[in-house]
Structure formats: structure tokens, C-alpha cells
Symmetry: C2
Subunit: 143 residues, 2 copies
């Protein structure tokens, strides 16, 4: 469904949202360790998220990453589209270039329903709620 890069990115953002509620900076090392993600590869993903203005980064000692906006104003959809693009929201299920409402592929209408529900889910899930679930111990990032 999502690329590995996207999985690491989502996990990192959720972790940062949980641990940096007051804007503290978290280091790559800590983020990668606590989300069970490969450090060097995660670094690339975090760079990407910084360039897309989802994260703010600072070099040097006490440097690290923090969310660029409050967690309740960031949703999962913006992370996914920053890393995987929006083909998951827009693309044809059969990979047809010109599939559309008026000239649909055989899956189009039924596929659109599922895709829209995925989109809604990602748009309506904020980092604040996922952080809250982690705090309450009803969900887990490292299993």
C-alpha cells in the first residue's frame, strides 16, 4: 500500500508528535531507534519531510527534528502525499493513463469508493489523535 519510505515517515512523524509536544527537538538516532527503522534511510525521509515543510530541522548539538505545525493541524494525508505523491488518491486502479469519470476503466467506480474512503481516513486522522492513542497505551509504534 505505502512505500517503505512512507511507512518510516509516518512512524517518525507520529513518534515526534508524541514526544515533542512542546517543540523539543528529537534526534534522528532516537527517532530511528524508537520506530524500529533503519537510521540512514530514515534520515533521507526526514530530509524530504523537512523540505516539504512538515518538519523543522536544526543541525549541531541539541539539534534534531520537530513538527513545523501543531500536531492537531497535521494529518496523515499530507505525509503520504509528501513522500509517495498522490497517485494513491488519484491514480487508476489498473494503471490506465486516461481513466476518468466519463471514460472509466472496468474498476473505476467501485475503486473510487475505496480510494476516497482511504483519502478521508488519512485526511481526518491527525497526528494529535495518534499521539494521544500512544499516550493512552491503546496503540503501539514498536511491536
Amino acid at each position: 500500500m505505502f512505500s517503505k519510505a512512507c511507512e518510516y515517515g509516518i512512524k517518525a512523524m507520529i513518534y515526534i508528535a508524541q514526544k515533542s509536544k512542546n517543540g523539543e527537538r528529537l534526534s534522528l538516532k532516537q527517532i530511528a531507534r524508537e520506530t524500529n527503522s533503519p537510521e540512514a534511510f530514515t534520515a533521507k525521509v526526514l530530509q524530504q519531510l523537512s523540505k516539504q515543510n512538515l518538519l523543522e530541522s536544526l543541525k549541531g548539538p541539541t539539534g534534531g527534528f520537530t513538527l513545523q505545525r501543531p500536531a492537531d493541524q497535521m494529518n496523515l494525508a499530507s505525509i503520504v502525499s509528501a513522500i509517495d505523491g498522490d497517485s494513491i488518491y488519484m491514480g487508476c486502479g489498473l494503471g490506465l493513463r486516461e481513466c476518468s469519470e466519463i471514460k472509466p476503466c472496468p474498476l473505476h467506480h467501485k475503486f473510487k469508493v475505496v480510494r476516497d474512503e482511504l483519502k478521508d481516513m488519512l485526511e481526518n486522522t491527525s497526528l494529535a489523535t495518534t499521539a494521544d492513542d500512544l499516550d493512552r497505551g491503546i496503540s503501539f509504534l514498536r511491536i
Copy 2:
């Protein structure tokens, strides 16, 4: 969402369902051409579908492929799982190995809703209905 192999496989199966209503055999060449898919790669996919008993193949002149069961008894889900496996139905959205109902990742419950809807859609869409839509000119395989 689906791999390229799976996209080609679905398109091929839908095309065969439409064109081989009485068990006629269709050649790889024709299938690949009419679904806009690379011929050699599609050949691999059709081999896979034949081994999984979704297609019946015959070599030689007048040889080709035909559905192994009537189109109204074949759904999209069986094609997807034959090619991409069922990680799309079962796997964790964040790639966590041990994500489960009792120890869920932060996306688990919401993700499951979407995934189940996708599964239902694929299970309840038969090749007969897709072929019918093509016949009626309300959907298209080559765009």
C-alpha cells in the same frame, strides 16, 4: 496499490472474460495488444495465472488462454491474491510484523475498515460483470 504484474493480470482476465464467452482460446499476442500491456511480461503473468488454476492454456496453433471457470464464478480478489499475495488484505499499514487487534499500530483500526472494504469490493466483483460493462460500452480497457 496493485503491482504492475497484477494490473496486467486483471486486465488480461477481464479481456478474456469478455472475448471468450464460449471457451474460445485467445492468444497472448491478442491479449497483450488489446490490453495495452507488454507482451513478454504479460506472458509471465499468464503463466502464473495458469499455474494457479485461474486460466487454462494450450500450446500450438489455435492454442491460447481461456478462463478455467465461468466468468460469473471468478472474482477480482482471486486474481489479486494469485499475483500479489494477500498482504494487501492482511498486512499492517505501517509494515509492523506483529500488529494485531490486541496490539495494534496507530493506524490499525481505521486502516482495517478501508482494507476490508477493498477486500469486499474485489470479492464481490465478478469477471462476468466487468465483461458485461465492457460489452455495454460503459467501461474501457484501452484508453
